[in-house]
């Protein structure tokens, strides 16, 4: 159990001692830190069901929420939990659920209804390895589920992917903000390592401002009755509903892309990775740099919307990209779509709860580097003998040094 004293003091804003405590660094478990960050972000109600590796989040909520006079319910299933969240969120409450992969599959139904009816909610998925019951080790094999659709229908939800416990705490407030601004469920994806590991974190919390909702169900007193629903049996009307949703998703894609760049200024290669995989990548990059491979990290923070334009821009100046995931290769499909063949995209991943080591990643990086060198040499040869044009993605002019001026150090689009 982490140090609770400091955390207990955290809600008392304005007081100098509390402020100092708030900024103190304490050792916290990821699941507990995320739970406390949600509480400090003003979460009114939490609904959950025990599952490894996120049970500590539920346990933290079970103790803290009643202490603060807020709502905690341990539901009969993940189906129960997500639908309790739907009901509470429909009244305008700030609501959160959490689970791990198999539980998220059960919550998919509710996610679809909430997306369709415009109900804000934050859902945390502490991913474990699948498919089926799989195992309880860390995994990123729910990328497809998170970004391409959990439930049925044409909808998306913003997906935030922290790479540290501190970042997870920060993004929790962002998740509630996005949920309420766009009237949508928002997912925060961690993995078994982020959930279970302990890291020193600053107790720095943010509470998003409360909005007045003109849609919340509060009882039709002195106003017309309100209905929160996703059904429309008339295709013409349902299409309009869908068009409005798509309009919202375009706006989110335009305004809410988040990513981080690291050591990409002079890079010839980039590793694209998120969450825990990005931390392994950092170690691998440090070792590769020692060996003279100019490589940096491109880390998507929003998995949807994916930072495709930023990655596309970057790929023009690279000799190759290595995508590293705790999966069989899911995000790599979005990387390839963004890169559109402008440079080779390789993949390295582990499954079943296994985590790639920095040396493994370094090996994959060396292989990519060697292959890129061979390709460039053979292209050069082809050009010299005049038997063909260079492949569009490997244009010589893109390879020179000093062309990375346009590359940004990450941020928000």
């Amino acid at each position: 159990m982490t140090r609770e004293k400091e955390i207990r003091m955290a809600p008392q804003f304005g007081d100098a001692q509390a402020e100092a405590n708030r900024r103190a660094r304490v050792l916290m478990k990821g699941n507990e830190a995320m739970a406390e960050a949600a509480i400090q972000a003003g979460c009114d109600a939490y609904f959950g069901y025990p599952i490894t590796p996120q049970a500590e989040l539920l346990e933290w909520m079970a103790r803290r929420m009643p202490e603060l006079g807020r709502v905690f319910v341990q539901a009969e299933s993940e189906l129960g939990a997500i639908n309790m969240a739907l009901g509470a969120a429909a009244t305008g409450a700030r609501v959160m659920v959490s689970s791990s992969s198999p539980g998220i599959s059960l919550m998919a139904e509710g996610m679809s209804y909430m997306a369709g009816s415009g109900t804000p909610m934050v859902l945390v998925n502490v991913m474990r390895a699948g498919p089926g019951l799989g195992g309880i080790g860390p995994s990123q094999s729910d990328y497809f589920q998170a970004t391409k659709g959990h439930g049925h229908g044409d909808y998306r939800v913003p997906v935030l992917a922290p790479a540290s416990i501190g970042e997870a705490m920060e993004l929790m407030a962002t998740a509630f903000e996005l949920a309420e601004r766009y009237r949508t469920p928002v997912m925060l994806v961690a993995d078994g390592i982020l959930g279970q590991a302990m890291e020193p974190v600053e107790l720095r919390f943010r509470t998003p401002e409360r909005r007045a909702f003109d849609w919340a169900l509060t009882g039709a007193s002195g106003r017309p009755a309100r209905i929160i629903k996703s059904i429309d049996l008339q295709p013409e009307i349902l299409e309009k509903r869908n068009l409005a949703l798509q309009h919202k998703y375009r706006e989110i894609a335009r305004r809410e892309v988040r990513w981080e760049s690291w050591r990409l200024e002079d890079a010839e290669f980039a590793i694209v990775a998120y969450g825990t995989a990005a931390r392994v990548a950092r170690s691998a990059i440090a070792r590769a740099r020692e060996r003279g491979i100019k490589v940096g990290l491109f880390r998507p923070i929003t998995l949807w919307p994916f930072p495709e334009r930023e990655l596309a821009r970057l790929s023009r100046h690279l000799h190759g990209i290595l995508t590293v995931e705790l999966s069989s290769g899911q995000m790599v499909e979005d990387v390839r779509l963004a890169v559109e063949g402008r440079c080779p995209v390789a993949f390295h991943g582990r499954m079943g709860g296994m985590v790639p080591t920095p040396d493994e990643v370094l090996g994959a990086l060396k292989a990519l580097s060697a292959k890129a060198t061979r390709t460039r040499e053979s292209e050069h040869h082809v050009q010299m003998v005049g038997r063909g044009a260079p492949t569009p993605g490997h244009n010589e002019s893109d390879v020179g040094a000093g062309v990375h001026a346009g590359a940004r150090h990450g941020g928000r689009r």
């Binding site: 639908n83 739907l86 009901g87 509060t218 929160i228 629903k229």
Partner: protein, 284 residues
């Protein structure tokens, strides 16, 4: 539903006394229900009870999936749509963050007694302070008349074309009796829309189930046995006779439990006592 009045019952200029009028909370619309369907009667009773108890401005209702999916088109209160079977979970969420609201669910038998058994059982087990209206017509009406868990033995439906065979398809489920055993359930009763006396009794049950919530009691459920002339392949009149006969034989009418409002303390007075009459409630 022939007389409409903008206000409450009153003596007109002619001296005729208006004794039957449309509650304002019931919207003035034709329903989508099939001719002879009992849903309209249950809607009407609910509207009357809610008006009598002054509930509409405080109500947050949960609409089901099934024939009553458009309940919010007829009842003028705040509504949220629930996925199939999940209304009691949705209602739980509302209840917990809105202690002052009147929380109502309205579900059919496919919704409540098949896909939603976990949600209804656990909402009842937690003693959630919600009022559940359960309309049981023994069939999936909305999807074309398939067998439900409540379908009578021997009954022909589109998915039990040779009649429900217990060996293959199991037995009708008496969900209200099951729920009545749970200490969290303050009130559980079964009525019917078969005829005027039965409708009067059903109204008293619905009123009691609403009053329980107002008084701070636990979970309250009223099962309304209803007819489905189209799904049953009968005329409306035949379907009402069927309701009074074989349906009531399988699903006996009455109050299964009324634990007053102190149910949270545990099972108190069980048994088949009649609904305790509320002030101003005329016995039908």
């Amino acid at each position: 539903m022939t007389l409409h009045s903008p206000g409450p019952a009153s003596s007109g200029a002619s001296g005729a006394r208006l004794i039957y009028h449309k509650p304002d909370v019931l919207l003035d619309r034709s329903t989508h229900y099939c001719p002879g369907c009992g849903h309209g009667v249950v809607h009407r009773l609910l509207a009357e009870v809610m008006t009598e108890l002054g509930l509409p401005p405080h109500t947050i209702a949960v609409a089901p999936v099934g024939c009553a999916v458009f309940a919010y088109d007829y009842l003028n209160v705040d509504f949220v749509e629930a996925p199939h079977g999940r209304a009691p979970a949705v209602a739980t969420g509302i209840r917990r963050v809105r202690p002052e609201a009147f929380v109502l669910t309205y579900q059919g038998d496919g919704d409540l007694a098949a896909i939603g058994t976990a949600e209804i059982v656990h909402a009842a087990a937690r003693g959630e302070r919600i009022t559940a209206i359960f309309v049981n017509n023994g069939i999936y009406g909305m999807t074309g008349g398939q067998m439900a868990p409540t379908t009578l033995l021997g009954q022909r439906t589109t998915s039990s074309p040779n009649g429900r065979d217990a060996a293959l398809m199991g037995f009708p489920i008496r969900i209200t009796e099951m729920l009545a055993q749970l200490p969290g359930v303050t009130y559980a009763a079964r009525g019917s829309v078969a005829d005027v006396p039965a409708i009067g009794k059903l109204k008293a049950m619905i009123k009691r189930a609403c009053q329980v919530q107002i008084d701070g009691g636990g979970f309250a459920i009223v099962e309304a046995l209803s007819n489905c002339p189209v799904g049953w392949g009968m005329t409306p009149q035949q379907s009402l006779e069927h309701l009074k006969g074989p349906v009531v034989e399988t699903y006996p009418l009455g109050v299964m439990v009324d634990r007053g409002t102190a149910s949270a303390a545990g099972p108190a007075s069980g048994g088949s006592t009649g609904p305790s009459s509320t002030p101003g409630q005329p016995e039908p």
